[in-house]
Symmetry: C2
Subunit: 386 residues, 2 copies
């Protein structure tokens, strides 16, 4: 599958040498500053890339995104901050852009300085104009431990505008590479305030509903740039298109989670409100006992009940009002006969498992995305030393 | 190691038949009602054993504890509640005790009714007086998936009184058996209100600082009975003895966590207060990336920084004030040379790993106990179906 960037965006990918094989540097740029929205990790150890980019997108405008792969530039002190600023300055100069219109991101090992000799030598030869149009190649160059590039697109209904998204998620081999980076590009014309509001809503119900292993990266960044080439669009149709792309990428990341063999989707309904639904859904999707049961294709609803039960501050949750389903099959309080159990085990051995719980309180709901916990996860993260 | 119960407590262990091999039924009783304190799971799916026992210890008095192993009697509805009450009534009648002086506990699979025919047949033959005095045998009979019995004792300084504790934790083979049950018995004479206050403080800094896998059981119960045979004791000395026994059992449970090969102790100091220290310590001890790094003997302090960083609501945490140690070796912000790294790897391959973080804010501190995440954990919980 090859997906091209929307008109008015161009890409550069290259190999600085942080990784021995393949590209480790990406720039995607618009011709001029365009409306942009971004959300970043809330980590107390956020790196200088995040600090710089958060400042640079605070005016809801950006021209380019930059990715350096294999080194997160996190916990690197004043030297790391100076290095990030230097990369931003040099990329901006090459593009003829302002440094504060650059979204800088970095992903990889924590606690090591950039090899600035390599970066400087590479950037000496980096110059506009950018000529790449292949979003799939961009996604591939961002990968660190992913097993395949993650790219998605949608057309904004009632317009010619497209939304194209790329993401990297968790993969294998290098244990520190759990950073999620995702960038969406659109040629729709959307006012900065609208773009910001739409993007925050979409991120909240897609990427923020994703958990591979409960561990929040120091470098997570999600950004959207809208260059307006396709003209005005219906805002609801635009949000639907952004949502479609973000959801597609979210599912791709969950399914490619470190060691994952099964995509796990958890839907909680009937909650007091959406926040309670999200709390309970995350308790289920993050439970190691639920995740290992999914890995073992075991329709073990007792573990789902346990995970709901451990939300002990939610005193309005009453086991007598709760129902639990695997796929379409209710398993609690209904009891399943042996034929039903055999069917459930076949269902759970498939590539995607849905666990649904209704709390029977009110109308709050949330859907979250995760994966099973496998021997592969342990091996990836234990067998390789830094 | 064989540890005897304090004078004035007697035990019965037997095989009802819930498990094919070995005992699955325990009663430990005092001669008459004695001061008692207990804390229970906060799960919203707490079973009828917990509901009954919580009511029975609300008057800070009890005479006996009962354990039924291999079936948790959780999510079993009115029938399960009636069955629990029947077991309590029959044990009380056999002991000549009041039903509301019985602490009833149950551990095992969720969502199945007790095989009451087996229980009734066994209880028909159960009668006082109890003759057992071996606490180790009691601990062995409580085991479900534990690999060895967990028992500990301490003498109350300045007295003849002892504190003897038994516990079961997580083990292997049956995936739903993660319930923690622990009982402490003492012949010290302690007023009910003092016993309650001491026990809650001790549980809060021992068992409540324990996490094998973040999953809270529906049946957790910790209780202490004090029969007063050894006369009055110094209350501070008593708390020290209870703390010693509870901490010993906590460490035994963590080290025997499902699939565990390494005991992981995390100490956070320099926090705003003890609550913040506990939050950060739990984030570290529960991080799958930290747990797998410990399993791989990888001194990967970047993952510890990540785990601290993800406590994103703690805005007073500043990476510039944080220090991280593995054992005695500072790893952040100090950098470790190759010889130091090799020494760290040897340290981390040992049976117990200490991770210490100082937040540099104020004087709050907390120590928590956990274990590494291994292939064994995944196999135990994925390979066996219910």
């Amino acid at each position: 599958m090859t997906i091209s960037l929307p008109p008015g965006f161009a890409a550069h990918t290259g190999q600085i040498g942080l990784r021995a094989d393949g590209p480790d540097f990406v720039v995607v740029a618009a011709d001029s500053p365009v409306p942009a929205a971004a959300v970043y990790t809330k980590s107390r150890f956020a790196g200088p890339s995040v600090v710089l980019s958060r400042a640079n997108t605070s005016d809801r405008q950006a021209q380019a995104v930059v990715v350096v792969a294999k080194n997160a530039n996190v916990a690197t002190g004043p030297e790391g901050a100076a290095n990030a600023a230097e990369v931003v300055d040099r990329v901006a100069a090459a593009l003829g852009a302002r440094p504060d219109d650059i979204v800088m991101t970095s992903t990889g090992v924590i606690g090591r300085q950039y090899p600035m000799d390599l970066l400087r030598r590479y950037l000496d030869g980096f110059a506009a104009p950018l000529t790449g149009t292949d979003a799939t190649a961009v996604a591939a160059a961002m990968m660190t431990t992913d097993t395949h590039p993650k790219v998605a697109e949608a057309v904004v209904a009632g317009s010619e505008a497209r939304v194209v998204g790329v993401a990297k998620g968790v993969g294998m081999i290098e244990p520190d590479m759990a950073t999620m980076l995702t960038f969406l590009f659109t040629d729709a014309e959307v006012a900065p305030a609208d773009l910001d509001a739409v993007f925050r809503r979409v991120v909240d119900r897609t990427f923020n509903c994703l958990s591979v292993d409960t561990d929040t990266s120091t470098s997570d960044t999600a950004a959207i740039l809208a260059n307006g080439r396709a003209g005005p669009v219906d805002l609801a149709a635009f949000e639907a298109a952004v949502d479609s792309v973000a959801l597609d990428l979210t599912r791709q990341i969950a399914a490619d989670g470190e060691g994952a063999e099964t995509l796990l989707v958890v839907i909680v309904t009937g909650a007091r409100d959406d926040a309670q639904a999200k709390l309970v859904a995350k308790a289920i999707v993050n439970s190691p006992l639920v995740k290992t049961a999914v890995h073992g294709a075991d329709p073990n609803w007792g573990r789902v009940a346990m995970a709901i039960g451990k939300c002990s501050d939610e005193t309005d949750i009453d086991e007598d009002r709760v129902t639990i389903r695997f796929g379409e099959q209710e398993v609690y309080p209904a009891s399943v006969d042996d034929a039903g159990l055999a069917a459930l085990e076949r269902y759970m051995a498939g590539p995607e498992v849905l666990i649904a719980a209704d709390l029977g309180i009110a109308g709050g709901s949330c859907t979250v995305y995760g994966c099973d916990l496998t021997d592969g996860y342990v091996r990836i993260n234990a067998d390789y030393t830094t």
